[in-house]
Symmetry: C2
Subunit: 201 residues, 2 copies
Amino acid sequence: MPPAVQSATERGARTRARILDATAKVLNANGYAGTRLSDIASVAQLQTPAIYYYFPSRDDVIEAVVAAGHQSVIDHVAGALAKMSGASNLDKILAAVEAHLTFVLTESEYASASIRNLGHLPAEMRTRQVSRRRTYGQMWKDLFEAGQQAGEFDADVDIADARMLIIGALNWAPEWWDPGRGSLEKIVSEAKRFVRRGLAV
Amino acid sequence: MPPAVQSATERGARTRARILDATAKVLNANGYAGTRLSDIASVAQLQTPAIYYYFPSRDDVIEAVVAAGHQSVIDHVAGALAKMSGASNLDKILAAVEAHLTFVLTESEYASASIRNLGHLPAEMRTRQVSRRRTYGQMWKDLFEAGQQAGEFDADVDIADARMLIIGALNWAPEWWDPGRGSLEKIVSEAKRFVRRGLAV
Protein backbone atom coordinates (compact mmCIF):
# COMPACT_ATOMS: atom_id res chain seq x y z
CA MET A 1 0.00 0.00 0.00
CA PRO A 2 1.48 3.39 -0.96
CA PRO A 3 2.69 5.40 2.06
CA ALA A 4 0.25 8.30 1.50
CA VAL A 5 -2.81 6.02 1.56
CA GLN A 6 -1.50 4.11 4.53
CA SER A 7 -0.96 7.34 6.39
CA ALA A 8 -4.55 8.48 5.73
CA THR A 9 -5.82 5.10 6.95
CA GLU A 10 -3.64 5.31 10.02
CA ARG A 11 -4.84 8.82 10.74
CA GLY A 12 -8.43 7.57 10.46
CA ALA A 13 -7.72 4.69 12.84
CA ARG A 14 -6.11 7.08 15.31
CA THR A 15 -9.10 9.44 15.22
CA ARG A 16 -11.50 6.54 15.66
CA ALA A 17 -9.48 5.35 18.67
CA ARG A 18 -9.51 8.88 20.08
CA ILE A 19 -13.31 8.99 19.81
CA LEU A 20 -13.60 5.63 21.61
CA ASP A 21 -11.15 6.72 24.36
CA ALA A 22 -13.14 9.92 24.85
CA THR A 23 -16.42 7.98 24.98
CA ALA A 24 -15.07 5.64 27.69
CA LYS A 25 -14.04 8.70 29.75
CA VAL A 26 -17.39 10.45 29.33
CA LEU A 27 -19.36 7.25 30.05
CA ASN A 28 -17.45 6.82 33.30
CA ALA A 29 -18.01 10.40 34.34
CA ASN A 30 -21.59 10.96 33.18
CA GLY A 31 -23.17 7.52 32.69
CA TYR A 32 -25.11 6.36 29.64
CA ALA A 33 -27.89 8.93 30.03
CA GLY A 34 -25.48 11.84 30.38
CA THR A 35 -23.13 10.91 27.56
CA ARG A 36 -23.64 13.40 24.74
CA LEU A 37 -21.84 13.40 21.41
CA SER A 38 -20.83 17.01 22.06
CA ASP A 39 -19.03 15.94 25.28
CA ILE A 40 -17.28 13.13 23.44
CA ALA A 41 -16.26 15.52 20.69
CA SER A 42 -14.95 18.01 23.20
CA VAL A 43 -12.80 15.41 25.01
CA ALA A 44 -11.59 14.02 21.66
CA GLN A 45 -10.85 17.56 20.46
CA LEU A 46 -13.05 17.20 17.40
CA GLN A 47 -16.11 18.91 16.02
CA THR A 48 -19.26 16.91 16.86
CA PRO A 49 -20.22 16.19 13.21
CA ALA A 50 -16.79 14.59 12.65
CA ILE A 51 -17.90 11.70 14.86
CA TYR A 52 -20.55 10.74 12.27
CA TYR A 53 -17.75 10.06 9.82
CA TYR A 54 -16.75 7.09 12.02
CA PHE A 55 -20.00 6.02 13.76
CA PRO A 56 -23.61 6.17 12.52
CA SER A 57 -25.01 7.27 15.89
CA ARG A 58 -24.33 8.02 19.57
CA ASP A 59 -25.48 4.52 20.52
CA ASP A 60 -23.06 2.96 18.03
CA VAL A 61 -20.06 4.72 19.62
CA ILE A 62 -21.26 3.70 23.08
CA GLU A 63 -21.84 0.10 22.04
CA ALA A 64 -18.36 -0.10 20.52
CA VAL A 65 -16.88 0.99 23.88
CA VAL A 66 -19.06 -1.40 25.87
CA ALA A 67 -18.18 -4.34 23.61
CA ALA A 68 -14.46 -3.52 23.74
CA GLY A 69 -14.68 -3.09 27.52
CA HIS A 70 -16.34 -6.46 28.05
CA GLN A 71 -13.95 -8.22 25.73
CA SER A 72 -10.90 -6.64 27.35
CA VAL A 73 -11.93 -7.92 30.81
CA ILE A 74 -12.37 -11.43 29.38
CA ASP A 75 -8.99 -11.30 27.63
CA HIS A 76 -7.21 -9.84 30.66
CA VAL A 77 -8.58 -12.37 33.14
CA ALA A 78 -8.04 -15.26 30.67
CA GLY A 79 -4.45 -14.07 30.27
CA ALA A 80 -3.92 -14.09 34.05
CA LEU A 81 -5.42 -17.58 34.31
CA ALA A 82 -3.22 -18.87 31.51
CA LYS A 83 -0.21 -18.21 33.74
CA MET A 84 -1.69 -20.26 36.59
CA SER A 85 -1.63 -23.76 35.11
CA GLY A 86 -0.94 -26.29 37.84
CA ALA A 87 -2.25 -23.98 40.58
CA SER A 88 -5.22 -24.91 42.76
CA ASN A 89 -8.64 -23.69 41.66
CA LEU A 90 -8.73 -21.42 44.69
CA ASP A 91 -5.46 -19.79 43.64
CA LYS A 92 -6.81 -19.41 40.12
CA ILE A 93 -9.90 -17.68 41.53
CA LEU A 94 -7.64 -15.34 43.52
CA ALA A 95 -5.68 -14.59 40.34
CA ALA A 96 -8.96 -13.81 38.56
CA VAL A 97 -10.01 -11.53 41.45
CA GLU A 98 -6.72 -9.64 41.20
CA ALA A 99 -6.84 -9.39 37.40
CA HIS A 100 -10.48 -8.23 37.29
CA LEU A 101 -10.09 -5.67 40.06
CA THR A 102 -6.77 -4.25 38.86
CA PHE A 103 -8.09 -4.00 35.33
CA VAL A 104 -11.37 -2.21 36.11
CA LEU A 105 -9.83 0.11 38.71
CA THR A 106 -6.72 1.28 36.96
CA GLU A 107 -6.05 -0.18 33.56
CA SER A 108 -9.13 0.17 31.47
CA GLU A 109 -11.66 2.97 31.33
CA TYR A 110 -13.43 0.87 28.70
CA ALA A 111 -13.89 -1.96 31.20
CA SER A 112 -15.19 0.25 34.01
CA ALA A 113 -17.44 2.15 31.58
CA SER A 114 -18.97 -1.09 30.36
CA ILE A 115 -19.47 -2.53 33.86
CA ARG A 116 -20.87 0.63 35.40
CA ASN A 117 -23.38 1.13 32.61
CA LEU A 118 -24.39 -2.50 32.15
CA GLY A 119 -27.85 -2.20 33.67
CA HIS A 120 -28.52 1.12 32.00
CA LEU A 121 -28.08 0.33 28.32
CA PRO A 122 -31.01 -0.05 25.95
CA ALA A 123 -32.36 -3.62 25.99
CA GLU A 124 -31.22 -4.45 22.42
CA MET A 125 -27.68 -3.30 23.19
CA ARG A 126 -27.59 -5.44 26.32
CA THR A 127 -28.90 -8.43 24.38
CA ARG A 128 -26.06 -8.13 21.88
CA GLN A 129 -23.58 -8.42 24.81
CA VAL A 130 -25.15 -11.60 26.21
CA SER A 131 -22.70 -14.04 24.64
CA ARG A 132 -19.71 -12.09 26.02
CA ARG A 133 -21.28 -12.08 29.48
CA ARG A 134 -21.90 -15.83 29.23
CA THR A 135 -18.31 -16.51 28.17
CA TYR A 136 -17.01 -14.56 31.13
CA GLY A 137 -19.49 -16.06 33.59
CA GLN A 138 -18.53 -19.54 32.39
CA MET A 139 -14.81 -18.92 33.09
CA TRP A 140 -15.65 -18.23 36.74
CA LYS A 141 -18.25 -20.99 36.95
CA ASP A 142 -15.74 -23.61 35.76
CA LEU A 143 -13.24 -22.56 38.44
CA PHE A 144 -15.85 -22.71 41.21
CA GLU A 145 -17.16 -26.10 40.11
CA ALA A 146 -13.67 -27.55 39.84
CA GLY A 147 -12.74 -26.09 43.24
CA GLN A 148 -15.77 -27.63 44.87
CA GLN A 149 -15.20 -31.01 43.23
CA ALA A 150 -11.57 -30.96 44.35
CA GLY A 151 -12.71 -30.35 47.93
CA GLU A 152 -10.89 -27.01 48.13
CA PHE A 153 -13.88 -25.14 49.61
CA ASP A 154 -15.69 -24.93 52.92
CA ALA A 155 -18.45 -27.56 52.65
CA ASP A 156 -21.12 -24.89 53.30
CA VAL A 157 -20.20 -22.67 50.34
CA ASP A 158 -23.01 -22.15 47.83
CA ILE A 159 -20.79 -21.82 44.78
CA ALA A 160 -23.37 -20.10 42.55
CA ASP A 161 -24.23 -17.38 45.06
CA ALA A 162 -20.65 -17.03 46.31
CA ARG A 163 -19.42 -16.47 42.75
CA MET A 164 -21.99 -13.77 42.04
CA LEU A 165 -21.40 -12.01 45.38
CA ILE A 166 -17.66 -11.92 44.65
CA ILE A 167 -18.11 -10.62 41.10
CA GLY A 168 -20.57 -8.05 42.49
CA ALA A 169 -18.04 -6.79 45.05
CA LEU A 170 -15.48 -6.41 42.24
CA ASN A 171 -17.92 -4.79 39.82
CA TRP A 172 -19.07 -2.27 42.43
CA ALA A 173 -15.50 -1.20 43.26
CA PRO A 174 -15.27 1.46 40.50
CA GLU A 175 -18.27 3.16 42.19
CA TRP A 176 -16.30 3.96 45.33
CA TRP A 177 -12.59 3.29 45.00
CA ASP A 178 -10.12 5.93 43.98
CA PRO A 179 -6.36 6.14 44.52
CA GLY A 180 -6.98 8.68 47.31
CA ARG A 181 -8.42 5.88 49.47
CA GLY A 182 -5.18 3.92 49.48
CA SER A 183 -3.03 1.92 47.13
CA LEU A 184 -4.35 -0.49 44.54
CA GLU A 185 -2.26 -3.20 46.23
CA LYS A 186 -4.17 -2.67 49.49
CA ILE A 187 -7.64 -3.11 47.99
CA VAL A 188 -6.51 -6.05 45.85
CA SER A 189 -4.92 -7.71 48.85
CA GLU A 190 -8.04 -7.22 51.01
CA ALA A 191 -10.28 -8.58 48.23
CA LYS A 192 -8.07 -11.69 47.89
CA ARG A 193 -7.84 -12.17 51.66
CA PHE A 194 -11.64 -11.93 51.95
CA VAL A 195 -12.29 -14.36 49.09
CA ARG A 196 -9.71 -16.85 50.36
CA ARG A 197 -11.17 -16.81 53.88
CA GLY A 198 -14.73 -16.92 52.55
CA LEU A 199 -14.17 -19.93 50.30
CA ALA A 200 -11.33 -22.05 51.64
CA VAL A 201 -11.77 -25.15 53.79
CA MET B 1 -61.18 19.09 58.55
CA PRO B 2 -64.53 18.46 56.75
CA PRO B 3 -64.84 14.93 55.31
CA ALA B 4 -65.15 16.09 51.68
CA VAL B 5 -61.87 18.05 51.80
CA GLN B 6 -60.09 15.26 53.61
CA SER B 7 -61.18 12.77 51.01
CA ALA B 8 -59.84 14.95 48.16
CA THR B 9 -56.54 15.27 50.04
CA GLU B 10 -56.40 11.54 50.57
CA ARG B 11 -57.12 10.90 46.92
CA GLY B 12 -54.29 13.28 46.03
CA ALA B 13 -51.90 11.50 48.38
CA ARG B 14 -52.86 8.13 46.90
CA THR B 15 -52.28 9.34 43.35
CA ARG B 16 -48.93 10.83 44.33
CA ALA B 17 -47.94 7.50 45.93
CA ARG B 18 -49.06 5.66 42.79
CA ILE B 19 -46.83 7.89 40.66
CA LEU B 20 -43.87 7.20 42.95
CA ASP B 21 -44.51 3.44 42.96
CA ALA B 22 -44.69 3.48 39.16
CA THR B 23 -41.48 5.50 38.92
CA ALA B 24 -39.62 3.00 41.13
CA LYS B 25 -40.79 0.16 38.86
CA VAL B 26 -39.81 1.95 35.65
CA LEU B 27 -36.42 3.04 37.09
CA ASN B 28 -35.64 -0.59 37.95
CA ALA B 29 -36.66 -1.83 34.55
CA ASN B 30 -35.29 0.92 32.31
CA GLY B 31 -32.69 2.84 34.32
CA TYR B 32 -32.48 6.60 34.72
CA ALA B 33 -31.89 7.27 31.03
CA GLY B 34 -34.80 5.12 29.90
CA THR B 35 -37.34 6.39 32.42
CA ARG B 36 -39.89 8.50 30.55
CA LEU B 37 -42.85 10.27 32.08
CA SER B 38 -45.09 8.49 29.58
CA ASP B 39 -43.93 5.08 30.92
CA ILE B 40 -44.54 6.22 34.49
CA ALA B 41 -47.99 7.48 33.55
CA SER B 42 -48.82 4.22 31.80
CA VAL B 43 -47.79 2.09 34.83
CA ALA B 44 -49.64 4.47 37.18
CA GLN B 45 -52.69 4.39 34.87
CA LEU B 46 -52.72 8.16 34.47
CA GLN B 47 -52.44 10.60 31.60
CA THR B 48 -48.88 11.96 31.37
CA PRO B 49 -49.86 15.62 32.02
CA ALA B 50 -51.51 14.57 35.31
CA ILE B 51 -48.02 13.90 36.72
CA TYR B 52 -47.21 17.62 36.47
CA TYR B 53 -49.98 18.29 38.96
CA TYR B 54 -47.82 16.51 41.57
CA PHE B 55 -44.22 17.03 40.40
CA PRO B 56 -42.68 19.94 38.48
CA SER B 57 -40.51 17.69 36.27
CA ARG B 58 -39.36 14.16 35.43
CA ASP B 59 -36.22 14.68 37.52
CA ASP B 60 -38.31 15.73 40.53
CA VAL B 61 -40.31 12.48 40.47
CA ILE B 62 -37.10 10.47 40.09
CA GLU B 63 -35.36 12.34 42.89
CA ALA B 64 -38.32 11.76 45.22
CA VAL B 65 -38.02 8.00 44.58
CA VAL B 66 -34.24 7.99 45.03
CA ALA B 67 -34.46 9.94 48.30
CA ALA B 68 -37.24 7.69 49.64
CA GLY B 69 -35.27 4.61 48.55
CA HIS B 70 -32.09 5.73 50.34
CA GLN B 71 -33.96 6.70 53.46
CA SER B 72 -35.87 3.41 53.56
CA VAL B 73 -32.63 1.38 53.49
CA ILE B 74 -31.25 3.46 56.36
CA ASP B 75 -34.45 3.05 58.38
CA HIS B 76 -34.72 -0.65 57.67
CA VAL B 77 -31.12 -1.48 58.59
CA ALA B 78 -31.26 0.81 61.65
CA GLY B 79 -34.42 -1.02 62.71
CA ALA B 80 -32.70 -4.40 62.40
CA LEU B 81 -29.70 -3.13 64.41
CA ALA B 82 -31.96 -1.74 67.14
CA LYS B 83 -33.03 -5.33 67.88
CA MET B 84 -29.41 -6.46 68.28
CA SER B 85 -28.38 -4.61 71.43
CA GLY B 86 -26.00 -6.74 73.45
CA ALA B 87 -24.89 -8.73 70.37
CA SER B 88 -21.30 -8.76 69.14
CA ASN B 89 -20.34 -6.26 66.45
CA LEU B 90 -19.86 -9.14 64.02
CA ASP B 91 -23.40 -10.35 64.66
CA LYS B 92 -24.66 -6.80 64.19
CA ILE B 93 -22.83 -6.64 60.85
CA LEU B 94 -24.45 -9.94 59.83
CA ALA B 95 -27.86 -8.53 60.81
CA ALA B 96 -27.14 -5.45 58.67
CA VAL B 97 -26.10 -7.69 55.74
CA GLU B 98 -29.37 -9.63 56.04
CA ALA B 99 -31.50 -6.49 56.39
CA HIS B 100 -29.85 -4.67 53.47
CA LEU B 101 -29.96 -7.65 51.12
CA THR B 102 -33.52 -8.71 51.97
CA PHE B 103 -34.72 -5.16 51.62
CA VAL B 104 -33.16 -4.40 48.23
CA LEU B 105 -33.98 -7.80 46.74
CA THR B 106 -37.57 -8.26 47.77
CA GLU B 107 -39.08 -5.54 49.90
CA SER B 108 -38.41 -2.23 48.26
CA GLU B 109 -38.38 -1.31 44.61
CA TYR B 110 -37.53 2.21 45.79
CA ALA B 111 -34.36 0.94 47.45
CA SER B 112 -33.19 -1.09 44.46
CA ALA B 113 -34.10 1.74 42.07
CA SER B 114 -32.01 4.19 44.08
CA ILE B 115 -29.02 1.85 44.42
CA ARG B 116 -29.00 0.72 40.80
CA ASN B 117 -29.17 4.26 39.47
CA LEU B 118 -26.81 5.88 41.97
CA GLY B 119 -23.93 6.44 39.57
CA HIS B 120 -26.21 7.53 36.75
CA LEU B 121 -28.06 10.47 38.25
CA PRO B 122 -27.26 14.07 37.35
CA ALA B 123 -24.46 15.45 39.54
CA GLU B 124 -26.69 17.93 41.42
CA MET B 125 -29.16 15.19 42.29
CA ARG B 126 -26.36 12.97 43.58
CA THR B 127 -24.96 15.85 45.64
CA ARG B 128 -28.32 16.32 47.37
CA GLN B 129 -28.17 12.65 48.50
CA VAL B 130 -24.70 12.97 50.02
CA SER B 131 -25.81 13.41 53.63
CA ARG B 132 -28.02 10.28 53.44
CA ARG B 133 -25.12 8.30 51.99
CA ARG B 134 -22.86 9.56 54.78
CA THR B 135 -25.37 8.62 57.47
CA TYR B 136 -25.64 5.12 56.10
CA GLY B 137 -21.90 4.73 55.59
CA GLN B 138 -21.29 5.87 59.16
CA MET B 139 -23.62 3.17 60.57
CA TRP B 140 -21.47 0.51 58.94
CA LYS B 141 -18.21 2.25 59.76
CA ASP B 142 -19.06 2.38 63.47
CA LEU B 143 -19.75 -1.37 63.53
CA PHE B 144 -16.49 -2.20 61.78
CA GLU B 145 -14.42 0.06 64.02
CA ALA B 146 -16.05 -1.31 67.16
CA GLY B 147 -15.57 -4.89 65.93
CA GLN B 148 -11.91 -4.30 65.25
CA GLN B 149 -11.35 -2.61 68.62
CA ALA B 150 -13.11 -5.48 70.38
CA GLY B 151 -10.75 -7.94 68.67
CA GLU B 152 -13.59 -9.71 66.88
CA PHE B 153 -11.86 -9.70 63.48
CA ASP B 154 -9.02 -11.49 61.77
CA ALA B 155 -5.98 -9.28 62.45
CA ASP B 156 -5.33 -8.89 58.71
CA VAL B 157 -8.74 -7.38 57.87
CA ASP B 158 -8.58 -3.92 56.30
CA ILE B 159 -11.85 -2.66 57.75
CA ALA B 160 -12.33 0.21 55.29
CA ASP B 161 -11.86 -1.90 52.17
CA ALA B 162 -13.68 -4.92 53.64
CA ARG B 163 -16.69 -2.76 54.45
CA MET B 164 -16.89 -1.33 50.93
CA LEU B 165 -16.39 -4.72 49.27
CA ILE B 166 -19.24 -6.15 51.36
CA ILE B 167 -21.59 -3.25 50.62
CA GLY B 168 -20.63 -3.57 46.95
CA ALA B 169 -21.53 -7.27 46.87
CA LEU B 170 -24.91 -6.42 48.43
CA ASN B 171 -25.54 -3.44 46.15
CA TRP B 172 -24.73 -5.44 43.02
CA ALA B 173 -27.14 -8.25 43.97
CA PRO B 174 -30.24 -6.62 42.37
CA GLU B 175 -28.30 -6.72 39.05
CA TRP B 176 -28.28 -10.53 38.95
CA TRP B 177 -30.47 -12.10 41.58
CA ASP B 178 -34.04 -13.10 40.93
CA PRO B 179 -36.29 -15.59 42.73
CA GLY B 180 -35.74 -18.05 39.86
CA ARG B 181 -32.12 -18.51 41.03
CA GLY B 182 -33.15 -19.90 44.40
CA SER B 183 -34.73 -18.73 47.60
CA LEU B 184 -34.00 -15.42 49.29
CA GLU B 185 -32.96 -17.41 52.37
CA LYS B 186 -30.25 -19.16 50.34
CA ILE B 187 -28.59 -15.97 49.07
CA VAL B 188 -28.91 -14.25 52.46
CA SER B 189 -27.40 -17.25 54.18
CA GLU B 190 -24.47 -17.42 51.72
CA ALA B 191 -23.82 -13.69 52.08
CA LYS B 192 -23.75 -13.98 55.89
CA ARG B 193 -21.57 -17.11 55.78
CA PHE B 194 -19.13 -15.37 53.48
CA VAL B 195 -18.96 -12.20 55.57
CA ARG B 196 -18.59 -14.14 58.83
CA ARG B 197 -15.77 -16.25 57.40
CA GLY B 198 -14.15 -13.23 55.79
CA LEU B 199 -14.11 -11.11 58.93
CA ALA B 200 -14.06 -13.34 62.00
CA VAL B 201 -10.94 -14.24 63.97
